[in-house]
């Protein structure tokens, strides 16, 4: 297992190199010159030229690429054009917000998705099944920005929930991990915990709706397949209560495709949710990436974020593969012991 994990981690190197080449050249070729965007419409030409010079943008592209790679190898991704702060600092000041929202969304979507999927499959063709699948259909078809605006229009008035942001502007838990809810728990700050929770409910629900719909549909179809297996009939024939049949024999076996979907959804959510972040003013990396591409042409930050997202995806895939082995002992991750 360790060897397998190490091998997969080594694969990160070619993936990151490939991604870095693509993002570096795409940014330089298709994204406009950052100088007038960073310095403003009113900056004199000489100032713009001096800025390009001091940021190495007058050098040949290959030289710029190698100096980026040289820096990246020692963990220096450069400085943001917009703020002149280190890219790592810029990214990691926003990434915890994305992680927190993604985790909350994935908890909501997994909990309700699996629940709806299981109930729909167990009570196939019943009203529960139809309602569950209608909800799933709504989840995949409703645009996130519309749902977000609707939620903001309806719920804050009804349940006194805030319309946006991560926490009340006057509250701030001590920064330990950057995840406000976790930090509030670690420092015992219940007021911040409650407030951070109130802030995350709506964006996490909106963001989780799409994933929930996919998880629900996947759970239903996977469960229906498993429920027709001989071993389920055997379990029932042995007189096991239906609950145990569903939970222990059917659900656990049906979980493999569901875990894959949840893992990939979490990977995608960790890449930032542009629309949800924009509508709810959630300060994550999704909306920030779009801002860096369209408003500033902030090459170093975009390169840094894309590399981070590539890492996240590779690692999420690895985690999913490792979870398979725990869910199904028949799957061996080491090739010598079996196929992966």
């Amino acid at each position: 297992m360790t060897k397998y994990i190490l091998k997969r981690l080594l694969l990160l190197i070619p993936v990151l190199l490939g991604v870095s080449v693509i993002v570096f050249f795409i940014m330089r070729v298709f994204v406009p010159d950052p100088a007038p965007l960073v310095l403003g419409q009113k900056a004199p030409l000489a100032v713009r030229e001096a800025w390009r010079e001091s940021h190495g943008l007058n050098k040949p592209l290959y030289e710029q690429y190698f100096s980026f790679i040289k820096g990246a190898l020692v963990g220096d991704l450069g400085k943001s054009y917009e703020t002149e702060e280190s890219v790592t600092k810029e990214i990691f000041s926003r990434f915890p917000a994305t992680i927190e929202l993604a985790i909350a969304a994935i908890i909501i979507s997994s909990f309700f998705g699996i629940l709806i999927g299981v109930v729909s499959s167990v009570k196939k063709n019943s009203i529960f099944d139809n309602l569950g699948m209608i909800l799933a259909l709504i989840g995949v078809s409703v645009p996130v920005f519309w749902l977000g605006i609707m939620m903001i229009m309806i719920f804050p008035g009804l349940l006194h929930l805030p319309t946006g942001g991560r926490i009340d502007v006057l509250l701030q838990p001590k920064n330990i991990t950057g995840l406000y809810m976790l930090d509030s728990i670690l420092t015992g700050d219940l007021e911040s915990l409650a407030d951070a929770f109130r802030h995350i409910i709506l964006p996490a629900t909106v963001l989780g709706m799409y994933s929930m719909a996919i998880v629900a549909r996947m759970t239903r179809s996977s469960m229906l397949e498993v429920l027709n297996q001989d071993y389920i009939r055997t379990a029932r024939a042995k007189g096991l209560p239906e609950g145990k049949v569903v939970q222990r024999h059917a659900l656990r076996n049906a979980l493999i495709p569901i875990v894959t979907v949840i893992g990939l959804q979490l990977g995608a959510l960790l890449g930032g949710a542009v629309l949800t972040e924009t509508v709810f003013g959630w300060p994550g990396i999704g909306a920030y990436t779009v801002h860096c591409i369209t408003d500033v042409s902030d090459f170093p930050v975009v390169q840094g974020i894309v590399l981070l997202i590539a890492c996240v995806f590779v690692l999420m895939n690895l985690v999913v593969d490792v979870i398979y082995a725990f869910l199904d002992p028949r799957i061996k991750l080491n090739k010598k012991e079996g196929s992966s």
Binding site: L39, K42, A43, A97, V118, I149, D168, P283, D295
Partner: protein
């Protein structure tokens, strides 16, 4: 059945935890803190909170509450300047020496004294070309700064430069930064302006993408701010900002466009509106056929019913532009006559000149001088040109791509605009005499008579003679039509009814010290 009951129990438990946590409202202490807090929401983070390096409106709004210049614009106007960190000043008769008597006893927020040395360091910092400061040109006329004594400073210019005093009144470029803070932070306080200003509010913290928190400066030399906490909350989406205001999550919002105005007023929100010192215009590429021909430019002006277009697009909030100067800028001439709407004459000219199509590049986003965005404006122009036999091909581009495209000169028209940094006519008029930078002079307008007027205008002292120069310049542009002026925009913000003393300055800044909450 047992299974279903278990599921129902699990869902109920989840809902219970959620409702308990969600029900925990703020405590009384934080409620009273809230009454002493004003939350202002804007669409984007400030870029740099350092007056020397910032160039965007979002940064400027934070800076003008924490930093102060030597002189300032009066409330609601840029007609003249009044004392701020300088109590009084004298300008030598030749217009070359400015002597400032500084206010005594002023402290920067880091408790270091504001004095003549600080002024010298700040102005020399702006004169230094290193560091690529956007407003360094405002100080290009300065020859040197001399400290006369602790509270007197003398600035010598190389040549008379009338806009200098108004340039000093601008917070961007002109505001004073604590030399001690600059020394501590390698000459740049953009990301951490703690202790660096003298203004009525002190910088407290900046959570990127979320909030900038300012706190009342209790040692302020003037009238103290009425509200203790001033918070800039970033909500990028306009609809979400509107809902947050209606819901009471924020007190004031920026970026009100004509589409949300009615929604806000119908729910009891108050709108503040002031004419901006701006010009929104169509620029002809005079260096490229067909609009190198003055008849063709005139025909476009005749084809467009500017009055109707402005009324339809901006729903009454923006006014039709007369000439290149907005009403509050000296040189504005309301009697100036642009070619009147005459589609028949335009059709005939285009037919004679055999012009059947034209290309227009435009930005797509909203700009402070064009709240509907460039693409919408371009489409409106297209709808006026089609009936007179000209098909306008629109090339919509993101702002960055647009700025890159304008110098390429592969189009026949573009739309652009300008928001005055200060009320001086030279601030915009000089741009049409710039023959190097197409972003300043997108028409490539080149008229030596106009250039000569600009050279003269910048040296004359404020007064009738100077105003007459800029009026002449305005008349020349109406005759040559390098640009077709379209509208003068308004600056709008909305606030909850319990907010008093709120105003947006014509420069776009918002000074919060006089804002209170009931």
């Amino acid at each position: 059945m047992v299974q279903l009951k278990k599921i129902v129990a699990e869902v109920c438990a989840f809902a219970l935890i959620c409702s308990v946590l969600a029900g925990c409202g703020p405590k009384d202490a934080s409620k009273s803190e809230k009454n002493d807090t004003v939350i202002f929401s804007q669409g984007a983070d400030p870029k740099k909170i350092d007056p020397a390096y910032a160039s965007d409106g979002e940064s400027s709004k934070v800076i003008c509450n924490t930093f102060e210049p030597l002189v300032k614009f009066p409330a609601g106007s840029t007609e003249n300047v009044e004392p701020c960190l300088a109590e009084k000043w004298e300008i030598s008769p030749d217009g070359l020496t400015y002597t400032f008597s500084l206010r005594k006893g002023v402290l920067f927020h880091d408790e270091t004294p504001f004095n003549a040395d600080a002024v010298k360091k700040n102005i020399e910092r702006m004169m230094d070309p290193a560091g690529e400061k956007p407003y360094t040109d405002n100080f290009s006329a300065v020859e040197g700064v001399t400290v006369k004594d602790e509270s007197t400073v003398e600035i010598k210019l190389k040549e008379p430069y009338t806009p200098f005093l108004k340039n000093l009144a601008m917070v961007l470029g002109g505001a004073m930064v604590s030399p001690a803070a600059l020394e501590k932070r390698n000459g740049d306080v953009s990301t951490d302006p703690t202790g660096a200003g003298t203004g009525p509010y002190k910088f407290k913290k900046w959570e990127k993408g979320q909030t900038v928190v300012l706190e009342r400066n209790d040692k302020y030399w003037g009238d103290k701010a009425k509200i203790k906490n001033l918070i800039f909350k970033i909500i990028p989406d306009t609809s979400a900002r509107v809902l947050a205001l209606k819901n009471g999550d924020i007190d004031i919002m920026d970026g009100v466009d004509p589409n949300v105005k009615e929604q806000l007023t119908s729910s009891g929100m108050k709108i503040f509106e002031i004419a901006a010192q701006s010009i929104n215009f169509l620029a002809f590429a005079m260096d490229v056929p067909p609009f190198d021909n003055p008849e063709a430019r005139k025909a476009v002006a005749q084809a467009i019913d500017v009055k109707k277009m402005v009324a339809d697009l901006y729903k009454g909030s923006d006014k039709v532009a007369h000439g290149i100067f907005p009403p509050t800028v000296p040189g504005h001439d309301p009697s100036i006559e642009l070619p009147s709407y005459d589609p028949d004459a335009a059709k005939q000219t285009f037919s004679e000149l055999k012009i059947k199509e034209a290309t227009m590049v435009t930005y797509t986003n909203q700009r402070p001088y064009n709240s509907v965005g460039g693409k919408v404006l371009a489409e409106s122009i297209q709808s006026f040109l089609r009936p007179v036999g000209v098909e306008l091909n629109i090339i919509p581009l993101s702002w960055g791509a647009y700025l890159e495209r304008v110098p390429k000169r592969d189009f026949s028209m573009c739309v652009l605009g300008w928001l005055w940094d200060n009320g001086d006519p030279h601030n915009f008029a000089q741009l049409l005499a710039d023959h190097k930078n197409f972003l300043n002079n997108p028409s490539a307008y080149n008229n030596p008579d106009y250039d000569a007027l600009m050279t003269k205008g910048v040296t004359l002292p404020d007064g009738d003679e100077r105003t007459a120069i800029y009026k002449k310049g305005d008349q020349l542009t109406v005759k040559d039509l390098p640009i077709l002026p379209i509208s003068n925009s308004s600056l709008q913000a909305a606030h909850r009814p319990n907010i008093q003393g709120f105003a947006v300055h014509p420069t776009g800044n918002i000074y919060f010290a006089s804002v209170s909450k009931s």
